[in-house]
């Protein structure tokens, strides 16, 4: 029997989304990313969003692939094809498919009649049965089911079989047995679909040339690369989802690029020495302590963590701020508060990081929107931290950090010289009459520091207790205030050193839309869609805090301003209001904080509803 899949006469090329529903721990992730990677290799803009549980095996997990020839690859909420591989979630998954869409399911067992929808085409593939027939080992039978459905999808979407087959061969280059069984499974599904359905479906892929200079990379890998290229040598960290892969990757990269060969190693000695030291700490408090100790000593040091880790680090962040020690913190945000939803995304650490620690503190924040910016901003974080002698937070999130993104290839300028800030060496000290740690401020209100080990003339006593500009203990109001007032000015001065906001204006715009981080693509797409509804909007994505003047101006220029962000409390809006003095009422909010990546539909709905209201 052949199911006719051509009833929809509208053929859509390179513009659709599919959702794959699986059980976690069954090996579906590699099959899913195989499909995404193949589409990328065909030159088509694509994204893959892994919506996974905080669990190792047995719970529902989903993967969404969005293909969009214009590059709008934010999460779509409507699915043309559902690959329903988890019987436990059949009902909700089948309900998720848009009218006129398709459901691919394992027809080894019949589908309950009550699950059927008349507006959806069901494509049954007897995956389990085929795999039992073709594979002997129990684990293989489970794993190969994934590759088999991938094969069916390859046929249904018109994905280039050669590209997929090559990818499998590359992945299993060193294991002939696995390579063969994967290829066989792929072919099983592919052939079955060709034989039983009209392939391809009305929505399909066709080769493009849009990803030639792009790479497929996750933000955590890109961040680790940034830290490597910035010259970080010391890191302290504690394992936490979704940040762990930053340090896993940094460790891997260091092992590859930071080993110096040892000539004639002694017996038992390794033939290399490490130009780095990564310490898995006992907790995040120790992790930031290690970073501060190393930064105090003049090494570039960083930690990677998520919200709960930042909470623990608060105490020492105040110390770093007040004693003026550089530090780089990578916060891969997840859904809070408390344990929250560790495998879901959010942008809810903005205020936590902006004002981390007790007392009057303010920090420098960078907001990357994608893995490419993770790479670039990670490098800049070190420059800014050392220039301003203070902690710098790069706020990534789970969506950016753990999903693969298509981004322009990373580039590096070999003339880059790290900005180590104002550090006095013994030669400088010799020329000075006397050294005082917190005196002699420059135009950015930064004072010179010395490193431990420098001449005794440059020795001073770092103290988190009240100190005057000479670094001496004080309890006198004027002396105390003089120092903290300078810190405030120093922070403000960093505004022009953080990445500038991206502002895109449209003629006739009456509305201003402000966003940050990983909301970027969804909001840009929303701006396009709003335009079609006759709502013309200017766009601003802030990329750093403290804010430059243009942030305030943008708000004031627009009668209607919307701040789109992924947290409940409109934290970016608050921060803009608090720090620029713009009345908070001047900005409305569009908030999506359920834990999944933002989609343009949510933005469009949020804005149109409020404009109509």
């Amino acid at each position: 029997m052949t199911i006719d899949t051509t009833r929809d006469s509208d053929v859509r090329v390179n513009d659709f989304s599919i959702k794959l529903a699986n059980v976690n721990g069954t090996g579906s992730a590699s099959a899913n990313s195989l499909l995404m990677q193949a589409i990328f290799r065909m030159g088509i803009p694509v994204s893959g969003k892994n919506l996974f549980p905080s669990n190792i095996q047995g719970l529902p997990t989903w993967y969404e692939i969005r293909v969009n020839k214009s590059g709008y690859t934010a999460r779509a909420l409507e699915y043309d094809l559902m690959v329903a591989m988890n019987s436990a979630t059949y009902a909700e998954d089948i309900a998720d498919v848009k009218a006129g869409g398709y459901v691919l399911f394992d027809s080894s067992w019949p589908l309950d009649e009550h699950l059927l929808r008349s507006d959806v085409t069901f494509l049954g593939v007897p995956l389990a049965r085929m795999c039992i027939e073709h594979f002997a080992a129990p684990r293989e039978r489970i794993l190969m089911k994934n590759v088999a459905y991938a094969g069916a999808i390859v046929a249904l979407l018109g994905i280039d079989m050669g590209v997929v087959s090559n990818l499998l061969s590359e992945t299993f280059a060193r294991n002939e047995l696995l390579r063969e069984s994967n290829q066989n499974a792929l072919r099983l599904g592919y052939d079955y679909a060709l034989e039983h359905f009209t392939c391809p479906l009305p929505f399909r892929v066709e080769p493009m040339d849009a990803t030639k200079d792009s790479i497929l990379i996750d933000g955590n890998t890109a961040t680790a690369l940034g830290c490597l290229y910035a010259g970080a040598t010391v890191s302290g960290w504690y394992p936490i989802t979704p940040a762990t892969a930053v340090m896993d990757n940094f460790t891997r990269l260091c092992a590859q690029y930071r080993r110096e060969p040892v000539e004639n190693p002694a017996p038992g000695e390794l033939p290399y020495k490490n130009n780095y030291l990564i310490i898995q700490a006992e907790d995040e408090i120790a992790a930031i302590g290690i970073v501060l100790g190393a930064s105090w000593s003049g090494a570039r040091a960083f930690t990677s963590t998520s919200g709960p880790g930042i909470s623990l680090m608060n105490e020492l962040l105040g110390l770093a701020y007040y004693t003026e020690i550089p530090a780089v913190l990578i916060d891969v945000q997840r859904t809070g508060p408390s344990t929250g939803m560790p495998t879901r995304t959010q942008q809810a650490d903005i205020l936590l990081c902006a004002y981390a620690s007790h007392g009057d503190t303010k920090h420098i924040l960078l907001f990357p929107a994608n893995p490419r910016e993770c790479f670039e901003f990670a490098v800049q974080s070190f420059d800014i931290a050392e220039r301003f002698q203070t902690p710098v937070f790069m706020l990534s999130d789970l969506d950016i950090g753990m999903n693969d993104w298509v981004v322009p290839e990373l580039t590096w300028d070999d003339t880059y010289v790290p900005d180590r800030g104002r550090v006095l060496n013994d030669h400088d000290l010799e020329a000075m009459k006397e050294f005082f740690r917190y005196a002699d401020e420059d135009a950015d209100f930064v004072t010179p520091r010395t490193l431990p080990g420098s001449d005794s003339k440059g020795a001073y006593f770092i103290r988190g207790s009240g100190h005057d500009k000479f670094g001496r203990y004080t309890e006198k109001p004027d002396e105390y205030q003089e120092v903290v007032d300078r810190l405030k000015k120093k922070h403000a001065s960093a505004a022009t050193h953080v990445p500038a906001p991206v502002i895109e204006r449209r003629s006739g715009a009456t509305v201003g839309i402000i966003t940050l981080g990983g909301c970027d693509l969804a909001v840009r797409e929303a701006v396009e869609q709003l335009d079609e509804f006759g709502i013309v909007a200017d766009f601003m994505r802030v990329r750093g805090f403290p804010f430059v003047e243009s942030v305030r101006q943008f708000v004031e220029e627009h009668d209607e301003c919307f701040v789109v962000e992924q947290n409940r409390d409109a934290q970016l809006r608050s921060l803009i209001s608090i720090e620029t003095g713009v009345a908070i009422e001047r900005m409305k909010s569009v908030l999506a904080y359920g834990g999944f990546p933002l989609s343009a539909a949510q933005v469009v709905d949020g804005i149109t509803t409020q404009l109509e209201g």
């Binding site: 006992e282 302590g289 290839e409 490193l451 080990g453 103290r463 203990y473």
Partner: protein
């Protein structure tokens, strides 16, 4: 942490060390601790030990947490770089500093509140990592700066000034260190500088974390009848059966006085620690023997002092991590950055 600059009054010619520095050069500001505080004696011993070691002050980094003990780095070696950090976190900072610059000599000053309560986890893990540093716990069994609460080192039955007895088991940093794999463990008494100075020198020469628990009475809150951390209690219950000498590398090494009993350990820097006497059956290289000895003495209400355990062969944090000999803060940037070509090349794997 108020401190008063110490007037540098030239007295009768003071002895000079090999660097031509006098003991004054290893002092700091005048202490603002209570008169008679045990911690001031520890400060004096540190001053003396580092002067005798003739260690250039700028090559020393002194760190502390929060508490009475943690004030003391201001009072010694003014030419050293100092870091008064947060409560209980001293060793995390020291770990990072040591990671970045393995050439400096690190001395951390902590107290029993700092190390055995709020910072216990950090202490345990610094021991496991064997961070190369001297770690001194100025142990008085009491929170002084907040006016006299029990700390975790208070013995059962020991009484607060207002009379309440402690009912919880004490944490003994030496026994803790033994179980965490510490490589240098010593206990001293602030009232015994003659014993403490050679221990400090040996600790500075040790490769790895040298933990010294110094019973250092709090004259204000814990020096009364009923306290087990008082001067009187220590004078009456201290057992000094283990005696060591420290022979610096630069001095000519004489043959040991008593060939039968003396055991010598060559430290990492070539200096020598010589056990002049140990009780029979005691083996300072054997954790079990040391633990049994301490427990046995404790059961008799006695406190054993001296250099109790040493293992000079264990790898320190850098050896465990195979770090390059050059301090990481001095590795040239061009050695750290793989460059544009490599970045382009590696991205072939991201397609």
């Amino acid at each position: 942490m108020t401190s008063i600059a110490k007037p540098l009054i030239p007295l009768a010619p003071l002895a000079k060390n090999e660097l031509g520095l006098t003991i004054r050069d290893y002092e700091g500001a005048i202490s603002t601790l209570c008169a008679g505080c045990g911690h001031d004696s520890v400060t004096a011993a540190i001053t003396h030990a580092y002067w005798e070691l003739a260690m250039p002050p700028h090559t020393i980094a002194k760190l502390s947490g929060i508490g009475c003990s943690s004030k003391t780095p201001t009072y010694f070696i003014r030419g050293a770089h100092g870091f008064n950090s947060a409560h209980g976190r001293m060793v995390t900072i020291a770990t990072g500093a040591n990671a970045a610059n393995r050439e400096l000599s690190y001395i951390g000053i902590s107290g029993d509140g700092d190390s055995l309560s709020i910072g216990l986890g950090h202490l345990a893990h610094a021991i496991r990592r064997n961070v190369n540093m001297v770690y001194i716990i100025e142990n008085n069994g009491v929170y002084g700066l907040t006016k006299g609460q029990f700390s975790a080192s208070a013995d059962i039955g020991s009484r607060l000034k207002k009379g309440d007895p402690n009912t919880m088991a004490p944490i003994d940093p030496i026994l803790l260190g033994l179980s965490m794999g510490a490589t240098f463990l010593a206990r001293g008494f602030s009232g015994d500088k003659a014993q403490l100075v050679p221990i400090l020198k040996a600790a500075a020469a040790h490769k790895g974390l040298a933990l010294i628990d110094v019973i250092s009475p709090c004259v204000t809150f814990n020096d009364h009848e009923g306290s087990t951390k008082s001067y009187r209690f220590m004078r009456e219950h201290e057992v000094k059966e283990i005696e060591t000498d420290f022979v610096p590398i630069r001095k000519e090494i004489h043959k040991s006085l008593d060939e039968n009993d003396a055991t010598e350990i060559t430290m990492h820097d070539g200096s020598i620690v010589r056990f002049r006497s140990v009780p029979s059956g005691y083996d300072p290289y054997d954790r079990q023997s040391v633990e049994e000895y301490i427990r046995e003495r404790r059961s008799r209400g006695e406190i054993a002092t001296g250099l109790l355990y040493v293992d000079e062969t264990a790898p320190d944090v850098h050896e465990l991590n195979n770090t390059t000999a050059q301090p990481l803060n001095r590795v040239a940037y061009d050695k750290l950055c793989p460059g544009a070509g490599e970045l382009a090349d590696m991205q072939r794997h991201f397609r």
